[in-house]
């Protein structure tokens, strides 16, 4: 029931349109990129999926994270802007339930977005690389992988948005985190496991290497950690927020 209510709350906030249009905008990048200079791509001796991901994933991942930041801000802005959350807290309803339903919504939005992007990647591959065996399964695996890699970003960002009454603060923090991720993602230290740096990882045709599995484990651990953190917060900060 809570989920249905949360879904209703997103009405006219532009939450789903944002993801849909954002996905279309992001998907147009690989198409334009490949169409503009096909020569620099088609002669590479790599599977089609790899070429496309190598060339575009940095941009796509960045746009995806931007959208998750914005989505989280929208979800909690409707609560804070006119005091809706105070009313919610006066009702016999679990605060954690509200949070995790919102997380599910955000996951749904992200999933839709990734799916649309994958479809366009498949289109690019079919159009410019007619002979690409195993393409569908590779792209599909990458979609699932990316969704899991987005999970810590989703939960962390929602956590931030739920803690800041002022949307500007959560937005600023989100962008700063994304920026930090940009700075640390190429370092070879533990910092590559920084939550906002994870979505920049993608699955190439070589499949699960040890490294990729480590990233996956990190993503899941971080998600659980942030989730537990939220539950603890609601427990100990009952009278504030």
């Amino acid at each position: 029931m809570t989920f249905a209510l949360e879904l209703k709350k997103t009405k006219r906030t532009g939450f789903f349109p944002a993801f849909f249009l954002g996905a279309l905008a992001a998907s147009s990048l690989p198409v334009i990129n490949t169409a503009a200079r096909p020569d620099s791509f088609i002669h590479q001796a790599l599977p089609a999926g790899d070429i496309l991901l190598n060339a575009n994933w940095l941009m796509l991942a960045m746009l995806n994270i931007f959208l998750v930041i914005i989505g989280a801000c929208i979800l909690y802005h409707t609560e804070f802007s006119n005091g809706g959350i105070e009313k919610m807290h006066m009702l016999p309803i679990s605060r954690n339930q509200i949070f995790f339903c919102k997380a599910l919504l955000l996951l749904l939005g992200t999933g839709t977005m990734l799916l649309i992007e994958s479809l366009f990647l498949v289109f690019c591959a079919c159009h410019w690389f007619p002979e690409s065996p195993g393409l569908l399964s590779a792209v599909f695996q990458n979609t699932c992988y990316s969704l899991l890699m987005m999970l810590p970003v989703i939960i962390l960002m929602l956590l931030i948005a739920s803690l800041c009454r002022n949307m500007w603060v959560s937005l600023g923090v989100g962008i700063t985190l994304l920026f930090t991720a940009q700075m640390v993602m190429s370092s070879d230290t533990i910092l590559t496991y920084f939550p906002f740096a994870l979505p920049f990882q993608f699955l190439s045709s070589s499949g699960y290497s040890r490294e990729k599995t480590a990233f996956l484990a990190a993503a899941l651990t971080e998600s659980v950690l942030f989730g537990v953190f939220k539950i603890l917060l609601t427990k100990f900060r009952r009278y504030t927020l």
């Binding site: 532009g14 334009i32 990129n33 746009l63 802005h77 920026f179």
Partner: protein, 255 residues
């Protein structure tokens, strides 16, 4: 009421908005990993000298995302100051010229952008000094190069700022104006490698720094960018954006 006194009024309005915190913290975050990873500058693949590499790496991160992203946020924030408590409605019922008001606000945006560059510069020197002390190597570059490049980035950002100003004025839902602004940053990596880079103002700052990197790697100390058709396109773009935003300013408050 002339433009100058209007700008003064607009500057009063940004008091206590924490806009400076918003500008300083990301810049600090930018230089921190640079100093920590200072040793990476010694094996630079593009053949830059370590001190040049240190400078370019920092400013490249700045020019690519941080600077445009902060400009977007500042622009929307400036608009929200007017909208949250209907301050703009009061302004519109006062005897001021509305396009002038819009222009004054745009100048405040440019002033803040300038402030951002100054913060970046002010942090570069201590960061370079720290890295020098850490690695026992002189990372400090001559002032003229650093200042020239900063000035260039600043000038290049004017068309971009005008574009964001237009977006923030037209799209009333703050989340969406931010969204469009941020989304417009990402393709600059793509566009700047094409022949029509000058048609996409969001990539100007990034383009100049990439050019500088190229010429520094070649051992030159200056950058050569074709001013035609860049300058006319940039100027035209800026003018159109400012004109449109002045015309549209406050329209939704006067339905």
């Amino acid at each position: 009421m002339n433009l100058f006194s209007l700008i003064k009024i607009e500057l009063i309005k940004i008091r206590r908005t924490h806009i400076f915190c918003l500008m300083i913290i990301p810049c600090l975050l930018l230089w921190l990993p640079s100093v920590l990873n200072a040793d990476m500058n010694f094996n630079n693949p593009s053949g830059l000298s370590p001190e040049n590499s240190f400078f370019i790496q920092g400013f490249m991160g700045f020019a690519w995302i941080l600077f445009p992203a902060l400009l977007v946020v500042i622009t929307v924030m400036l608009n929200q100051i007017e909208r949250t408590n209907k301050g703009l409605q009061k302004m519109l019922s006062l005897p001021v010229s509305i396009p002038m008001l819009c222009l004054a606000k745009f100048f405040v945006l440019l002033l803040l952008a300038g402030g951002l560059i100054l913060i970046m510069l002010a942090l570069y020197y201590p960061a370079a000094a720290l890295a020098s002390a850490k690695m026992d190597y002189d990372f400090l570059l001559s002032g003229s190069l650093v200042f020239k490049e900063s000035l260039l980035i600043y000038l290049c950002s004017v068309p971009m700022a005008a574009f964001y100003w237009l977006i923030a004025g037209c799209i009333r839902t703050p989340v969406f104006s931010i969204g469009i602004g941020l989304a417009s940053i990402v393709p600059s990596v793509l566009v700047m490698n094409t022949k029509v880079w000058f048609a996409y103002p969001m990539c100007y700052p990034f383009y100049t720094i990439a050019k500088l990197m190229g010429s520094l790697a070649d051992g030159k100390n200056f950058i050569s960018i074709d001013l035609i058709p860049w300058l006319p396109v940039a100027a035209g773009f800026t003018l159109i954006c400012i004109l449109l935003s002045c015309l549209l300013f406050g329209n939704s408050e006067r339905r």
